[in-house]
């Protein structure tokens, strides 16, 4: 029996899509790759699975700092042992005093309120979700933080989109099935990254109850 080498993840995704339902006459490999990138981005944004930690070294009298280049969504900000709360943009630049430590976001910037002083400068930690890198070919690897066992979400998303565009009652039913499977897998992936925010029995019970609701 010959030794057969398995295909890399994205090549397998392409092969599954080409297995019957995604017509190569209508969708070239380039089109398919664009759709896979769309699926990859959607899955990462919905689940916040590409989590990273970023350190901001605060400087006295400097309020605003650049966000990481791959920034997609902010999860938590902590400074001096305290979690910062989000400040609405309309309040952020008013110079309000006596506010609890907060932050605001716009564009590629994060601002800290109150502005760090000589006495308060140090570090702030950002827990954020990164945007996935753009895939340039099917030989590329998925980001290491994206669990390989969830690569099937790419198949279901692309198949859903292409079947929907193709039309016809049978294809619409198939598209609906793929959409349902995609949503289910996204929910499972998102649940993996939901964690206890703070240690303590009430929060353990909270997670336990939420799992019962979601299962």
């Amino acid at each position: 029996m010959p030794i057969l080498n398995p295909n890399a993840t994205l090549i397998f995704v392409r092969n599954r899509l080409r297995a019957g339902l995604v017509d190569p006459a209508r969708y070239t490999d380039s089109d398919l790759l664009n759709l896979v990138n769309e699926a990859y981005l959607d899955a990462c944004e919905q689940t916040l699975c590409l989590q990273s930690l970023h350190t901001i070294t605060t400087v006295a009298e400097q309020a605003e700092y650049a966000l990481p280049a791959d920034f997609s969504a902010l999860i938590r900000v902590v400074s001096a042992g305290q979690e910062l709360s989000l400040l609405p943009l309309q309040d952020s630049l008013q110079g309000l005093t006596n506010l609890q430590p907060s932050y605001y976001l716009y564009g590629s910037k994060i601002g800290l309120v109150p502005t760090p002083t000589v006495n308060s400068s140090g570090e702030a930690l950002l827990l954020y979700a990164a945007a996935p890198p753009l895939l340039t070919s099917f030989e590329d690897d998925l980001d290491g933080r994206f669990p390989s066992e969830f690569s099937d979400v790419l198949v279901h998303y692309v198949r859903w989109r292409t079947q929907l565009l193709s039309g016809g009652a049978e294809r619409l039913a198939s598209a609906s099935a793929d959409r349902g499977t995609y949503d289910l897998r996204i929910k499972q992936l998102r649940r993996r990254y939901e964690s206890v925010v703070q240690t303590g029995a009430p929060y353990v019970r909270h997670i336990s109850d939420r799992r019962q609701v979601l299962s």
Partner: protein
């Protein structure tokens, strides 16, 4: 009768076995990781799905949430030379972060974790056996049906798969024990 095994078949089996291993937690191993002196984080091997337990110098480290870790680091930015004082870790992305920061000696950690199996490159033996092997067969069959345009049949296979894999995962989770914050869902706290 000669069975023809194609690369396509191998791919389906590999995809299924990785998912079964991750969903069920059936594959567990004990291995060592090294936290380099002066560093406060290490990158997990690709095969790791979830850390079950982590020990340093024979003492169990406590897993904390990412936010708790961030509070500790920014609120108590201490560095210790005694490696036995490194007591907490958090899993963020593919990295483990430790507190307090230590230096300059390396720390050898013993980790028990669930892992993804190596991809097979022939029709050789799967790492998953028994019920796990059956689930691989079921899941790869479901993938075939989905790609063949038979979502109804595939749905039946997948429903059965979810039912069985949830049961297996529950059984694996109950073996963790302990009274830490990450006690698994459904386990009651013993009366004081």
């Amino acid at each position: 009768m000669t069975l023809t095994v194609t690369t396509e078949t191998i791919d389906y089996i590999n995809a299924a076995q990785i998912r079964v291993a991750a969903d069920s937690g059936l594959l567990e191993k004990k291995d060592t990781l090294t936290l380099v002196g002066g560093e406060d984080s290490l990158l997990l091997p690709d095969e790791v799905v979830k850390i079950r337990a982590l020990y340093a110098n024979g003492v169990a480290l406590t897993e904390v949430s990412p936010v708790t870790y961030m509070r500790l680091v920014t609120g108590s930015p201490i560095t210790v030379t005694n490696t036995q004082l490194v007591s907490n870790f958090a899993n963020i992305g593919r990295s483990l972060y430790f507190w307090p920061t230590h230096g300059p000696d390396d720390i050898t950690l013993t980790a028990i974790y669930t892992y993804r199996p190596e991809p097979i490159d022939s029709d050789s033996t799967l790492e998953l056996t028994g019920m796990g092997e059956h689930l691989v067969e079921q899941l790869s069959g479901a993938y075939f049906l989905l790609d063949d345009g038979q979502p109804e049949l595939a749905g039946g296979e997948l429903a059965n798969y979810f039912s069985q894999v949830n049961r297996l995962r529950g059984r694996q989770d109950r073996r963790i024990g302990g009274s830490g914050v990450l006690r698994q869902a459904g386990r009651r706290r013993p009366p004081n």
